[in-house]
Structures are given as C-alpha cells and as structure tokens.
C-alpha cells in the first residue's frame, strides 16, 4: 500500500516538473526565444562535458546537506527555517579555524574545521529548539529572525575584526593550504567535499530509516501525543533533530569555505538553505529523494548558465521554473482531494439515482 502511495506521488512529481517546464517554454517563447534550443542547451550545460558534469555535482553539495538538514527537522515536527543562518555561522567557524591554526596538517585541520562548523550550526539551532520545547515559542519566526542576525553578525566580523588585508572585499584571508580541499576536475569547483557528502548522506539515510532514533523522530513528527504516551522522550528527540539539522547546515557552510572559496565571504550563500528546504519539501523528507532532487536542481542551476551563454535566455528563468514546481507539488494533495471528491460525488449521485429509479 505504501509502495502504491509512493508511485502515485512520483507520478504527480513527474507531472509537476513537466508542467513547469512547459510553462517555462511558454515564457521563453513570449520572450522571442526557442524553447527547444533553450532546453537542449540546459541539458548540455548540465551534463554535456566533464567540466559541466563536475560543476553540476559541485552545486549538488550544499543542496544535499541543507536538504537533509531540513528533512530531519521537518520529520520531527519542528521546522528549521534557519538554515541560512546556521550555514553562515558554520562557514565562518570553519574559516576562523582555517586562518587561525595555520600550521596544522590537513588531516587534523580539516576535521577540526568541520567540527567547528558543526558545533556553530548545531548550537545556533539549539537555541530556537529550547525556546520551542520549553516555552512553546514558535520556531518558524525565531529561526527566520535568527537568519538575518547571523548574516549581519558574520558580515560585521568579516568587514571589521577579521577583514582581509587586501581591503574591503567582505571576506577573510585565505585559509591555510592544509585546509583547502583539493579540486577533482580542473577549473571546476568540484572538490573532495563530494566524498564527505556521500558518506554523510549514507549515514543520514541509515539514521532516519534504519535506527530506532529515526523511528522515534518519525513518530514524534507524526503524533507527539502518541509518542509521549508510548514512552518516547519527545523533547529530547525534537532537540536532537534540530541540532543535527543545524549541524548539517553548518557543514554545508564549511564546505563552501574549505572547498570552493577558500575563505569566508559575506555573501557566501545565494540561498542554499532555502533551496535545500524546497528540495526536502518536494521529496517529502525522503533522504534518497533529497540526493536525487539535489542533483536535478544542481543540473538546473549549472545548465541555466550555459543556456544563457548559448541562447541569451537569462539564467534566472530557472528560479521561476523551480518555484512553479514547488507550487504544483505543494498543491498536489489539494488537487488530488478535489478531484477525488468530485468523482465520489458523481458516483454517489449516479448510485442514488439508480436506486430511486
């Protein structure tokens, strides 16, 4: 039965994506462009060459992490909308280690930097979690507010005390070489962080789907009364989920520093955490789905740049298509319910008619 429900959902998802791509095609036509060449350039740009594939997967890294972060938090019923803020703090934490402990060999330094980002992100998420669990303060608003606070705080840090000597660039110094993750494909930003992410994904899958902790998180999110009654420590599980969520976002930030920019920049994230959140929502918090959908989104982002270079269609069209996919997915259960009740009513009227006849 569950498999059937999943199949139904995959079909809706496929149809939503298809519908959005069609709408995207109309937008391209309205702008006097050929959608076919546009989409061909998109696919080419995403997978057409070694460099392109590498860039696609490079873009996948932060999406998978923030997507998994959102998944675990939403599963437990506590909504972590503060991913951006946790990402920024995690990024800064990693950068701080990388510019302070410059003489550490990579084998010690990198885990240290990752640990710092993990702790920064985790603690930043712990705060709203406690507010929620102890005082029942709505975590959505708190985490949204904390986002801006974190961005502002790191912006201050990076423009004043930790500003780079090069001048007002809104960034720290370059991190020491030992911390820099090596690139895998020449000229692309794909780096060894992808291996870390692969491992993290497997761990998260295992945690969520195969352990009693994952089971408890799931039950808490579905019915916290039931969970408490059955002996689960609801508060502890919610806090755990939230902290892990923050930690994952922190690590996402760390990889941007350690693998991509080699320094902390004040606009280091163009909204990765929001994208991750959308990915998790589209795949209904399923870890495997997060990975697959992140690749899809990564492909869209990479491909859109080539599409722009080749056809002049602005790459922001992708954001538009993304948001339309979201709308369709978000409305999916509503659409289904409306269709179902319409059909059921028709059937019942027919039946009653037959009886009366």
């Amino acid at each position: 039965m569950k498999k059937l429900k999943n199949a139904e959902y995959l079909i809706s998802l496929f149809l939503s994506i298809l519908a959005s791509l069609i709408i995207g095609a109309f937008i391209m036509l309205a702008n006097g462009r050929n959608p076919v060449t546009g989409y061909v350039a998109l696919i080419n740009g995403a997978f057409g060459s070694k460099y392109n594939i590498a860039t696609t997967f490079a873009k996948t890294v932060p999406l998978v992490l923030t997507g998994l972060a959102t998944s675990i938090s939403f599963r437990s019923g506590i909504s972590n909308i503060g991913g951006e803020g946790q990402l920024y703090l995690g990024a800064f934490g990693a950068a701080l280690i990388g510019i302070t402990f410059v003489n550490l060999p990579g084998i010690v330094g990198i885990p240290l930097a990752l640990a710092a980002s993990l702790i920064a992100g985790g603690l930043y998420a712990l705060f709203p979690a406690i507010l929620k669990v102890r005082y029942n303060i709505d975590e959505v608003i708190v985490t949204i507010m904390l986002n801006t606070v974190a961005v502002l705080l790191t912006s201050y840090l990076v423009n004043y005390p930790f500003a780079s000597e090069i001048g007002k660039m809104g960034g720290t110094e370059i991190i020491a070489e030992g911390y820099q993750l090596s690139r895998l494909v020449r000229l692309s930003t794909l780096n060894t962080s992808i291996f870390y992410v692969a491992v993290i994904s497997i761990i998260m899958y295992y945690l969520l789907e195969r352990t009693s902790i994952g089971y408890e998180i799931k039950m808490v999110g579905q019915n916290s009364n039931f969970s408490r009654y059955g002996g689960i420590n609801v508060k502890r599980r919610m806090i755990f989920a939230m902290v892990v969520s923050g930690a994952l976002c922190g690590i996402a930030g760390a990889f941007e520093v350690l693998g991509v920019h080699y320094r902390f920049l004040q606009h280091i994230s163009p909204g990765y955490a929001w994208d991750g959140m959308l990915i998790a929502l589209i795949v209904k918090n399923n870890p495997i789905g997060v990975v697959l959908m992140s690749i899809f989104f990564g492909a869209l982002k990479t491909g859109s740049i080539s599409m722009e270079n080749a056809t002049g269609i602005p790459s922001e069209l992708i954001s538009v298509i993304q948001s339309i996919i979201i709308l369709f997915i978000a409305g999916e259960s509503g659409f289904k319910a409306k269709i179902k009740s319409f059909l059921a009513n028709r059937r019942a009227i027919k039946k009653a008619g037959e009886k009366n006849a």
Binding site: K2, K5, T211, M219, F226, Y229, A344, A348
Partner: protein, 521 residues
C-alpha cells in the same frame, strides 16, 4: 393533528468511503421535543447538519411547512427559522458574549459601522425573555461550559429560530447543568411555542424529556415512536439491531496481591481547575476494577496521572511498592503498566504510520527488534506484528497499510494488540469500546477477561455502564474528582449506582459503612 413543520424525504449523504445517511425519511411536528438517537456514527449529526445547510444531501428532499425547500448554507436554514446548537461550541473565545450572539447579524450604526451598544441591549433583552442569565460584556474564554451553552442557545434564538436543533447538548454538562438545560428546553417549548430536536445517545434523557423519538442505525432510520410507548430496552435494541443480551463471561479465581496503590491524588485539568480532589484506591492482580462516572468528573485526568501524562500536585502512586508518582511514561511502562487511551486517534496511534510502525512502539528499542537498541531488525519486527494481527483479529490487507485506512473497531483492536502484548501486570483501559462495532466489542471484552484470568490487574474506565457491569469485579464511582463509592459488582444495581455517580449519595458498601444521603444543593 400536529402540523408537520419539517419533512425529510429519502435523504442520502455519501462521503468518500462512508454512506452516512441512507434514504432517511422523518418528520418534525410543531411544538414537539423530538429526540434522534443512535450510536456513534449512526448518522444523526450528519442528518441535522444537512437540515442546517452545513452539508448538502447527495439525494433526497426537504419540505418546510409542506413546500419543498433548498437549504444550501446555514443562512438558508436561518431564514427558515432553523437554528443549531452544536456539540462543540461555536463561540469565538476572545470575543465578548454580545459579539458572539450577534455574529453574522451585527446591528449597524450605518452601512459600515457596528453598533456595539445595541448588541449589548439585544443580549440583555434575549437574556431576560428566555430566562438565560449571561453577562454581555464578558469574554467567552473566561466562562464555564454551562454558560457557554446558554450563549449558544441565545445566539440561535437571536436569529429568530423557531426550530432549535441541539447536538449532544449534555455531553459536556454536569448533572445540575443538565437539569437546568432541561428546564430551559421545556420552557422554550411549552411557554414560547418553539420546536426542539435533540440529538443524543443517552436513553435516560430521551425518556425524560422527549415527545417522540427516532432511532438511527448505520445511516438508516430504524423507526420513530412516541416516547410514552418506548422503554430503554426497546430503544437499545433498535439502536443496536439485535437483542442486547450480554452473556456471562468466564471468570477464574486468581490469587490477589495489591499491585497499584493510589493515595490522596490531587491534580488539575487543562483549564487549571481541580479535577482530582484526593483520590485513593487500591488495585489487585487478577481483578477488573471499574471506574463508573459521568464523563468529565476526573476520570480522564486520573488515567493521565497514573500513566505519567499529567502531573499530580499531591498524593502518591505506588506500583508494586515502587514509587511511581509523576514519573515519565517510559518509566511507568517499564514498571509493567500498559495503557489503552480513551482517544485512540489523538493518543493511541499515528494515522499516517503503517500498522507495523504503530504496533512496534514501546518495543522499538528492545532486543531482538533493535540490536543494541539502535539498529532496527526488520524480520523480527514484521513477524511479531504479523502474529499480533492474527491473534487479535485486526482486519487489514497487510501490515504496511497506514492506520487511517482501518475501521474504528480494527484501529482499537490494533491498539489493544500492542498494549496487551507487553505482558504487563497492570492494564489501564479507558473507553475500550467507544466507536467500535458490536462484533469487535465482544472480542475486546473477551480479551480483557482473558488478561484478568491470567493474573493482570485491570483498571477499567468507561462511560458505558453496561460495560462496567459486565466486566468489573469491583466498581468505584467518581464524582467531581472524588471517589463516592466502592462496591462489589453483585452488590449494587445500575439504578443505585447512578446516585453515587451523580453525587447524590456517598459512602462505601464494603465493611458495612452507612451511606450518607447528600442533600441537593
């Protein structure tokens, strides 16, 4: 011959998966008090909601004073003079009484502005005319349930209702408030010429109050009779569909030891009022102790205190000599306690989870289902669930179905399967057969007796006196948070126990203590 105000003809209502009303035809006469009774899920509420325009019938017609009418929204019903007082009050908590009463028909100073002063004077006038005292400027959230109901009635009267539908009005009232309500209903009908339709499942009330009664069962109308021709037995049989004869259950004598000792428990309800005022009793192995009482007298809170879901302010709970007061649910479970909650949908299961996931709760971190408490092992889990499904006759195509696809009876059997499989020495069972079909009721009762015979101590809380009497070895009565009586099952009759349940009498039968007759205040 009384005028037929309303005629419902062949009303049918189909919901996805449920036929709520099946060609129901009945009529309401002017000036009568007409009771519509049936078990939970019989379709009575749905029928009246159709009359009030909240639902549309799939087929069928409504006639008003002989003419066919179409009631598409509550506004249409209100125009015909039909008003409905719902089981769950439709009052906006932060608004005042006056604002609630005129909601939707606010008096205006001009086209846009509301005339609040007029709303207050309208409220005062209504209050006086119908003898229902309310304070127009009080905020609804601060008022008691009985007063809130008065506001609901005034609301309906303000809209000019001549026909008033009351949906399970006494479900949330104390016995005094119920008396008051009956007085008001009689006044409305006898002095003010209104017509009242009352939906209820309480047979006593039907016999005391109504002129005619219609019985519904599983969406169909079984029949309508004059109340003076009806008895409890006749009505019960019509409601249930067969002769209601409960067979004696097989009891074995079991060695008894005290497993649960409750002393002086005081606790508050969700509103902050004292729900338990010093409750003490003991529970022994191999017995079923039934707690009889009108809902809302502290039973729910008592169960929650015993299972760790509610704080006790004073008093102690000891399980087999071990201190268990205010412990967490997990700790209490580890002491050998299982709990069938009174609201299975809210507390007993997770609708979106599969049956497997639902049934493994409590075991999910124990060997062999979880290695070292962490790694869950699919095979042993599925085998266990599969076995329990068979043992407890849970009708489902597979264990991977989500719980919300089960019928009420099967959901309950699933909960019971899980809770009874823990091999617990104490079972706390609340409303075990609420909303469950007859076949499942029999099964559940037999399982409870089986556990008793195996030596478990069972605390049974039920609003169904028949169930209490059928299952219990001992019965205690609770009224307004206090234990008012303790009896052996054979020593007391249903009629007498009602007096203890409504606080009119107090005292223990055992040990020959004299009963005190409590004068009505």
């Amino acid at each position: 011959m009384a005028e037929k105000l309303i005629e419902l003809k062949e009303i049918t209502k189909q919901f996805p998966g449920v036929l709520a009303n099946d060609r129901v035809s009945l009529d309401i006469e002017k000036g009568e008090i007409h009771a519509i009774i049936g078990e939970n899920g019989a379709g009575k509420s749905t029928l009246m909601k159709i009359l009030y325009g909240l639902y549309q019938p799939t087929s069928g017609e409504i006639y008003f004073k002989g003419k066919p009418v179409s009631i598409k929204t509550p506004l249409d019903a209100i125009k015909l003079g039909i008003g409905m007082v719902h089981q769950h009050f439709m009052l906006v908590p932060s608004f005042t009484v006056a604002e609630n009463i005129v909601l939707g028909v606010e008096p205006r100073k001009n086209r846009f502005m509301m005339d609040y002063r007029k709303a207050v004077s309208i409220t005062e006038k209504l209050s006086k005319t119908y003898g229902l005292k309310v304070d127009p400027n009080a905020k609804v959230e601060s008022l008691s349930v009985g007063i809130q109901q008065r506001i609901e009635i005034l609301k309906v009267l303000n809209k000019g209702a001549d026909i008033i539908i009351l949906d399970e009005p006494t479900a949330v009232l104390t016995p005094q408030e119920t008396e008051e309500l009956f007085k008001v209903i009689r006044k409305l009908v006898e002095e003010l010429g209104k017509t009242v339709i009352i939906i209820t499942h309480k047979l006593q009330e039907v016999l005391a109050l109504s002129d005619r009664v219609s019985v519904m069962r599983q969406g169909r109308l079984v029949g309508t009779l004059k109340t003076k021709d009806a008895t409890e037995q006749i009505l019960a049989e019509m409601m249930v569909g067969r002769e209601v004869l409960f067979e004696e259950l097989n009891r074995i004598e079991v060695p008894r030891e005290e497993v649960l000792t409750v002393k002086g428990i005081k606790a508050r309800d969700n509103r902050g009022l004292m729900a338990l005022k010093g409750v003490s009793f003991s529970l022994y192995s191999g017995e079923i102790l039934g707690i009889a009482g009108v809902e809302g007298n502290g039973q729910s809170e008592l169960v929650e205190v015993l299972t760790g879901l509610r704080q006790a302010e004073e008093g102690s709970v000891m399980i087999k000599g071990i201190e268990a007061t205010n412990k967490e649910p997990m700790e209490i479970r580890n002491l050998g306690v299982s709990h069938i909650p009174e609201d299975r949908l809210a507390t007993g299961l997770s609708k979106k989870a599969t049956i497997t996931e639902n049934m493994i709760l409590g075991y999910h971190n124990r060997e062999p289902y979880a290695t070292k408490g962490i790694h869950m092992n699919k095979k042993p889990i599925r085998e266990r669930v599969s076995r329990l499904i068979k043992e407890f006759d849970v009708r489902t195509p597979s264990q991977d179905v989500t719980a919300d696809k089960l019928s009420g009876g099967n959901m309950q059997k699933m909960v019971i399967a899980r809770e009874f499989s823990f091999d617990s020495s104490i079972l706390i069972v609340a409303q075990p057969t609420r909303g469950v079909d007859i076949g499942a009721i029999e099964f559940i009762h037999k399982e409870i007796i089986k556990k008793r015979n195996e030596g478990a101590a069972i605390l049974l809380v039920s609003a169904d006196l028949d169930e209490i009497f059928r299952l219990s070895d001992r019965i205690i009565t609770i009224y307004e948070g206090e234990i008012t009586g303790e009896f052996k099952r054979k020593e007391i009759s249903k009629k007498e126990i009602g007096l203890y349940m409504t606080g009119k009498r107090k005292g223990m039968r055992q040990g020959g203590v004299q009963d005190e007759e409590i004068k009505k205040c």
